[in-house]
């Protein structure tokens, strides 16, 4: 049973109407939202001007950067000073919550608005003929189906219902051409929504069917990855193409280090290392250490991976990083019973411990 209020406006317009209401009644100073520029692309902006807000595209099926990571750049040194609203996808919001736990962001003075997420298209897909794609996308959403060609991690995402948003816009299976359905998840959301649209009423919202579909897709995606088997040869074939651009780390919401340890002088191999390896193996890749970087990243951030899929999107060598991290991340998260970004109060598992655990791993 959830608290609902709605208005008779097409979903994206209804959401923008709500944001305009919040601006006009001075409940918020600005909105952090996806905006279109030059009819050519989308990007996140902090917006105060109503005309600019009217042109924004909060539900556009593209993630040019992880919104949670972008929002954290605003709140890195201090919390935002005036109240703003932030419209984020569930995975972006979860990434933001993980960053809060890592002392890289603050949630103070932010009204979080999210929505049941159908997924985003890879950055390369939305370039040509995008108007038909956008139409197809929403047709699928209305029928509770997954739009074709969205990121693999989107197809397989079980966390499409945002956990920590104050207000959620319900999109799946709704009459999104005619009305906008808002769910209030927190008292804060209720207070902000007061005076916007009639009464808040309670209703049952079921997403079982969608969970089933997504879980099946996840199983399919991971078993496809497992098909070719695992071992050192497979790892080399997957990561061998890596050119060490560190793009994956740069776009990852959890990778917040300004200088990745693996990209620093500490991991620069010396000539003696190469000569050593030469005598040991008869040959060594130059530069060495690429597999170490990826395994290292799995150890450092895998437990908090929110499955946004930015990494695969930006990889110039087309390595399926997000799928591999979905496999590893899910495995580590299941092992510790942890869902990244679900609960502000739940500490990241590598920073806590139980006095009795994992006795099977100690010899």
């Amino acid at each position: 049973m959830v608290n609902i209020f709605k208005i008779k406006r097409k979903a994206e317009e209804g959401l923008k109407d709500f944001l305009l209401f919040l601006l006009e009644t001075k409940k918020i100073e600005a909105v952090f939202i996806l905006t279109k520029f030059n009819n050519n692309g989308v990007g996140y902006s902090l917006v105060k001007d109503k005309a600019v807000l009217k042109e924004s595209v909060p539900l556009y099926p593209s993630m040019p950067a992880n919104g949670g990571k972008m929002l954290s750049t605003l709140t890195l040194r201090e919390p935002i000073r005036h109240t703003i609203a932030a419209v984020l996808r569930p995975c972006e919001l979860r990434g933001f919550v993980e960053l809060i736990k890592l002392n890289q962001a603050s949630e103070e003075n932010i009204l979080f608005i999210s929505y049941t997420c159908p997924g985003v298209y890879p950055l390369s897909v939305l370039k040509i003929g995008h108007e038909t794609k956008i139409y197809e996308y929403w047709e699928k959403v209305k029928k509770f189906e997954i739009p074709k060609e969205v990121r693999p991690t989107c197809r397989a995402c079980e966390h499409f219902l945002p956990y920590t948003s104050d207000i959620t816009v319900s999109l799946f299976g709704e009459n999104i051409d005619k009305e906008t359905i808002f769910l209030t998840n927190t008292k804060k959301g209720e207070i902000f929504a007061e005076g916007f649209a009639g009464k808040i009423y309670r209703e049952e919202k079921k997403f079982d069917r969608l969970y089933e579909i997504r879980r099946k897709e996840k199983k399919k995606l991971l078993s496809e990855l497992d098909e070719k088997g695992w071992g050192i040869e497979r790892l080399v074939s997957l990561f061998g193409r890596c050119i060490s651009c560190y793009g994956c780390s740069k776009v990852c919401p959890i990778c917040y280090c300004k200088l990745c340890d693996f990209n620093s002088a500490r991991h620069e191999p010396k000539l003696s290392t190469y000569e050593n390896e030469l005598s040991k193996r008869g040959g060594i890749r130059v530069p060495t250490g690429i597999l170490l970087y990826h395994l290292g990243r799995m150890l450092h951030v895998g437990i908090s991976c929110v499955g946004c899929g930015m990494c695969t999107d930006v990889c110039p060598s087309e390595i399926p990083i997000s799928t591999i991290f979905l496999k590893i991340g899910s495995s580590l998260q299941d092992m510790l019973g942890y869902i990244p970004g679900k609960d502000y109060g739940e500490e990241i598992p590598i920073r806590t411990f139980k006095t009795e655990e994992f006795t099977e791993y100690t010899a």
Partner: protein, 142 residues
């Protein structure tokens, strides 16, 4: 030409207060055990970033071990608990990626357990001798 017998190289991260002292005691007591462990002294097992274990493994170590204080006895209160968690994550990743997780070991060895340290090294060396060398040594594109 006489074939060289495979002699395992094991990298051991030993905590200063317990495992390293225990290893030292084994030496001073003249207990016999194979010289297969390359010891690296760290102040606490909690100081060990699991990436070091991966680096040793990828570098061709036939086995990598952590030696720490027994749970509850850590000189820094909870370092060994954190080490255990990180080690568990590493084991899980190795298992998922088809890398030989049996070559990663975590032992609790106190400062007075010289004989235990020797026993651990003896048994691990034997285990690795039977298993064979780390095949990663053949991989060039690392």
């Amino acid at each position: 030409m006489k074939e060289e017998k495979f002699s395992p190289k094991i990298v051991g991260f030993l905590c200063n207060w317990c495992a390293y002292t225990g290893a030292d005691l084994a030496g001073v007591s003249r207990i016999k055990f194979p010289p297969s462990v390359i010891p690296i002294r760290v102040m606490c097992s909690g100081r060990i970033d699991p990436v070091y274990l991966v680096k040793a493994f990828l570098g061709g170590a036939d086995a990598v071990m952590i030696g720490g204080c027994h749970p509850g006895d850590c000189h820094y209160k909870q370092g060994n608990y954190l080490a255990r968690r990180r080690f568990a994550l590493l084991k899980r990743i190795f298992e998922n990626l088809g890398l030989d997780a049996d070559r990663l070991k975590l032992y609790w060895i106190s400062a007075s357990e010289g004989p235990k340290f020797a026993k651990v090294v003896r048994e691990l060396t034997e285990e690795i001798e039977i298993k064979g060398g780390n095949r990663i040594k053949e991989e060039i594109f690392i």
